[in-house]
């Protein structure tokens, strides 16, 4: 029983990571029809930035204050990368979706290679403050505390994105743009502001997810982003592109199934099942759980 609870909670934690990363991807695709493959690279860069900032102290000891500092600055760093990507690389190729996708492919490969070249491909172990590396006993299961941190962060992001989409003017533009971009443009609203906003937000959530992924995995490597990226693709497609709630539900399904299968069957099988889920969903329900249209 305690194993089931442990797997369930760590699965939800993993779902939180996938969701944070996928929310930006999904909104960007919903509005702009661009899959930002470079987002995996943003995550990797921010994970390294977070690692370096968390270990800045003279003793190399990670305190709570330094960790919070690292989380905040990595989020800003991710946001900046998203902003630069949109304004410098994506905007000149407006309405040429294939080229935009190609650019993000190039950025992803180049940035990951740059990080491997500068940082080396060995793991950077992320040490944690004791309150975070300890575990809490929930119904007999010893759940690592960082799981709760990830879950809480994901819930906060989900809530603030939902409120932002429903209550603000930019949220309205984004929602309207996902429904019908041409109509929004025809009404005299510059949708490109929403593009920049979404890329920045997507980068920021990827940056935050980078540090949390480093905490979850216990170490930072250059391939951290690519591994999260593939499962996040699966999440956004199963959830329905452009739907936040769909991404949340799909993240839970994929991550929990993955966690249980990897434990009870054998490591790797859970990843295979997640990939299989994607294929099944695309064929049975191509629009995803909450998506409106076929992609």
């Amino acid at each position: 029983m305690s194993t089931v609870i442990l797997l369930l909670l760590t699965g939800i934690g993993l779902a939180g990571l996938y969701f944070m990363f996928a929310s930006g991807l999904s909104l960007i695709f919903g509005l702009m029809r661009v899959l930002n493959l470079a987002q995996g690279a943003f995550l990797t860069v921010c994970a390294y930035v977070g690692w370096a900032l968390a270990h800045t102290g003279p003793d190399g000891h990670v305190t709570t204050a330094r960790l919070i500092f690292a989380l905040v600055l990595s989020t800003l760093c991710g946001g900046t990368m998203g902003f630069i990507t949109e304004t410098v690389f994506i905007r000149p190729l407006y309405k040429r979706e294939t080229e935009q996708l190609l650019i993000t492919v190039g950025l992803d490969l180049a940035i990951v290679a740059l990080v491997s070249g500068l940082a080396g491909s060995y793991e950077r172990v992320l040490t944690l403050p004791t309150w975070l590396s300890d575990s809490t006993t929930v119904l007999g299961a010893h759940v690592p505390n960082d799981t709760f941190l990830t879950i809480a962060t994901a819930i906060v992001i989900f809530a603030s994105l939902t409120i932002g989409l429903r209550r603000t003017r930019y949220g309205l533009i984004v929602r309207a743009g996902v429904e019908n971009r041409d109509m929004v443009t025809a009404l005299g609203i510059d949708v490109r502001i929403a593009f920049t906003l979404l890329f920045t937000l997507g980068g920021a959530t990827a940056g935050l997810a980078g540090v949390l992924a480093g905490i979850y995995e216990g170490a930072v490597t250059p391939v951290l982003g690519d591994s999260v990226l593939i499962f996040s693709f699966i999440v956004i497609i199963i959830g329905g592109l452009g739907s936040l709630l769909g991404a949340g539900i799909a993240a839970l399904i994929v991550a929990v199934v993955q966690q249980f299968a990897n434990y009870y069957l054998r490591p790797g099988i859970g990843d295979l099942i997640a990939v299989g889920l994607l294929a099944v969903f695309l064929l049975v329900r191509p629009a995803g759980i909450l998506g409106r249209e076929r992609i």
């Binding site: 040429r96 080229e99 190039g106 290679a113 070249g117 790797g268 990939v275």
Partner: protein, 372 residues
């Protein structure tokens, strides 16, 4: 006008000269002034040239999908990897002979492609890319996570040198492997040239232009796209077999999604939608990634500060930057740069600036983007 006629009549002659040169490379004891690791016919140089041929052919096989039919697959690595792994598996585990194992590597990819393509082609656009990625990723997980230990996990599978015909073994026989790879490249190029000029190839072109129009004409885009997928996978299989014979090992890096993405880079850098463009991209990509990595260990580079040595140690960085520059400034790829310059010059010299003459490559890129 005269110039064009001249160009057309000299082209076959130039190709024949180029091929004659390519075939005679193992017999030419020329210096390469550092372009290649040693003399032109030294084993190190020939190994790089052989791999360049493999990747030129592989890039072309990918362009059958991306540049000719206009569909983006993220799973092309799967078929290359099957063709590289299966002969190694057959010879190691089932103790097959060399020729049977090679035949297996050639026959299997199109059949797997038939199944994968039949499923994946039910969706199009980015969803197609995702389904193909999913299948390739599944294979990658099976191999890398050691789900089926026969594939050797991270170590990969080595061809048992005892079972190979003698020209395929040993560093001094590398010339035979070079010739083999060159022949594979020529076969792939001829097959692509033949198919694209056939009726099927015209339908593939038409699908890239506008799929809806093809179905309105009463043709079934599904079956034609499936045909292109199977054909491209068959070609990728030929390349995979040549690869495993040349390197002697099937390693898990060729199953990764980033490997397929690098094919996309090759095709776009060289120039998609054109046989010479895709081949050029593959040759150049493999050359740069081999040579930059080779130069990274030389004292001149290791003495540089780490930021400056990255372009050498991590060729993907250099190639990624080159790729981005090409997408921005030469959207038709390297192969179309001369005609871009020519058409620009013609436009500049024309007095009548009102006359609108679109650059061919701009039209091209929009056509590729026209997936529904």
């Amino acid at each position: 006008m005269n110039k064009q006629l001249f160009a057309r009549s000299t082209r076959p002659a130039a190709v024949i000269l180029l091929l004659a040169f390519a075939f005679s490379i193992p017999k030419l004891n020329l210096g390469t002034a550092g372009i290649l690791p040693g003399q032109l016919n030294s084993p190190g140089s020939l190994q790089i040239l052989a791999l360049m041929c493999v990747f030129g052919a592989l890039a072309l096989s990918y362009d059958v999908l991306f540049g000719i039919t206009g569909v983006m697959s993220f799973g092309h690595a799967l078929f290359f990897a099957i063709a590289a792994y299966m002969p190694a598996l057959a010879m190691n585990t089932w103790h097959w002979g060399f020729y049977q194992a090679v035949a297996l590597g050639i026959i299997l990819p199109p059949f797997v492609a038939l199944v994968v393509g039949a499923i994946a082609n039910r969706v199009s656009g980015i969803a197609f890319a995702m389904v193909t990625l999913a299948f390739a990723q599944a294979a990658s997980i099976v191999i890398s996570d050691n789900i089926l230990p026969v594939f050797g996990a991270e170590q990969g599978l080595t061809l048992p040198s005892g079972n190979l015909p003698s020209p395929m073994v040993g560093i001094f026989n590398v010339q035979y492997r070079y010739w083999l790879c060159l022949i594979v490249l020529i076969i792939v190029a001829l097959l692509v040239a033949w198919v694209t000029s056939s009726n099927a190839g015209r339908v593939w072109h038409a699908i890239r232009e506008k799929e809806l129009r093809v179905s309105v004409l009463g043709l079934q885009p599904y079956w034609h796209k499936l045909g292109a997928f199977v054909f491209a996978s068959f070609l990728a299989g030929l390349c995979g077999v040549a690869y495993v014979i040349t390197t002697g090992i099937a390693d898990p890096s060729i199953t990764l999604a980033t490997f397929t993405l690098s094919l996309l880079l090759m095709v776009v850098i060289g120039g998609s939608g054109r046989i010479s463009g895709a081949i050029l991209g593959g040759l150049l990509y493999e050359y740069l990634s081999q040579r930059l990595a080779g130069l990274a260990d030389t004292p001149a580079i290791t003495r540089l500060p780490s930021l400056l040595s990255v372009p050498f140690q991590q060729p993907t960085f250099t190639l990624g930057v080159l790729f981005i520059l090409i997408v921005f400034f030469a959207p038709g790829g390297l192969i179309r740069i001369p005609e871009r310059i020519r058409s620009r010059r013609r436009r500049d010299s024309a007095d009548d600036t009102d006359e609108y003459e679109p650059l061919p490559e701009v039209a091209d890129s929009e056509r590729i983007g026209g997936a529904p």
